[in-house]
Amino acid sequence: MRHLLSTRDLDRETAIEILDVAEDMADVAIREVKKLPTLRNKTVINLFFEDSTRTRTSFELAAKRLSADLINFSAKGSSVSKGESLKDTAQTLAAMGADAVVIRHSASGAPRVLADSGWIDAAILNAGDGTHEHPTQALLDAFTIRKRLHGSASRGRDLDGVAVTIVGDILHSRVARSNVWLLNTLGASVRLVAPATLLPPGVEHWPVELGFDLDDAVDAGPDAIMMLRIQAERMHAAYFPSAGEYSRQWGLDDERFNRLRADTMVMHPGPMNRGLEISSRAADSGQSTVLEQVANGVSIRMAVLYLLLSGAVEQGRAS
């Protein structure tokens, strides 16, 4: 693996390999010495053009557990124009000898531009680009589902036959996109539920089932239901009339939660708007995987950093 830019171009074998390596990384997290010397002398740079303490911290922990040198390079609020700053920043990081760049950017495709640009030779890891993809989030979600279903016998398994329902602002969600492709690749069936205004154009060509009605989706008894964060600002752009109406139609409230199967996983990529897209009871229940997702995020990011930064030199990456 040279870069990790999207889940759409991950094949099943590679995806399972990442999940399996993450299992080993998760084992490290429960021993006394939580650190591995694996990436000593490697430099990982967190390049965040957008604030995200959670994701940044997760990558930071992952890199440090593998003994990499980790530098947080906050590019937000820089005075140079955005275009110049991406190129200039990339060249600066290259000059500093970065081996991997973890990039979060508000523009879809920015990690791809960086990977294709020739400005920098490092491995590029997409930590969320615009409304495009967030591959490590999808990987940690798949890992979480697999672990709940198969426990310590997870290694080597796919998600054949698993039914996952994703609810909310699909249009603006990079998490949803990455999950759709990855879950599909792993054999799961995906159902999307949202108001028509928050479904992307062409979604009918995606490998998913579509629905507008959350009650139908709840009663279908999915193995996992993933609630996406809804941004209240969206109502100003006329995507829906009010937070109240959104919550009534597409929120996982107590009543809907009660109707779920007792073993349906309740997932959320965080941060949650309690009382809007998810009720506190649902979020805090034993069915909720929210905290597991956070813990598994570190294992997944360790696995990805390991796979990107180890291995024989490909395509001219300096050793």
Partner: protein, 177 residues
């Protein structure tokens, strides 16, 4: 390219039996404090076989596990990426125990160096010993084996291949030039 068989199945069994006896001799009365840790992939198979022999000679002496060293290697970027294998430390842990590391071939010593680092992250054994099926020489580090199935002096352009029933479907050690 010619492959020459240097150990037949019976030779391998004999070597492992001898190693097992030597291990028991070396620890005297504290055989129950032994932990046999195989290094993936074939070291794990060999460790399990040694543990079974130990158990048959002296019940309670065959505690076995596996120790992956992938994440401790210092040559990661010189080799193709390999996914790590699981590490299985027996329930009693390794603190205060005599750990016998088992690998198929001892060569540069770098794998064992990595294994010693890995052991350090899992606990503090009383002693660490090393058992290998084949020692082919060419050490790059001050490491030697305590128990050796067969010493095979080789040149650097020769390749040693260990094949075991459990992993390869046949049983032999060959040398290829």
């Amino acid at each position: 390219m010619t492959a020459r068989v240097v150990l037949q199945p019976a030779d391998i069994t004999r070597a492992l039996t001898r190693i097992s006896h030597e291990i028991l001799e070396s620890v005297g009365s504290s055989a129950s404090e032994l932990v046999i840790l195989g290094i993936p992939t074939r070291g794990v198979v060999l460790a399990q076989r040694i543990a079974a022999i130990l158990e048959s000679i002296e019940p309670g002496s065959g505690t076995v596990g596996s120790l992956d060293v992938t994440m401790y290697r210092d040559d990661l970027s010189a080799q193709p990426t390999r996914p790590p294998s699981p590490t299985q430390i027996p329930a009693g842990g390794i603190d205060g125990k005599t750990v016998v590391l088992v690998d198929d071939v001892l060569f540069s010593g770098r794998t064992i160096r990595a294994a010693l680092d890995a052991i350090g992250d899992h606990g503090r054994p009383r002693a660490v010993r090393l058992a290998v099926l084949v020692d082919r020489g060419h050490r790059e580090l001050p490491i030697r084996a305590d128990f050796v199935g067969k010493n095979l002096p080789t040149s650097l352009d020769e390749r040693i291949a260990v094949r075991l029933d459990e992993t390869d479907g046949r049983e032999e050690v060959t040398i290829t030039r």
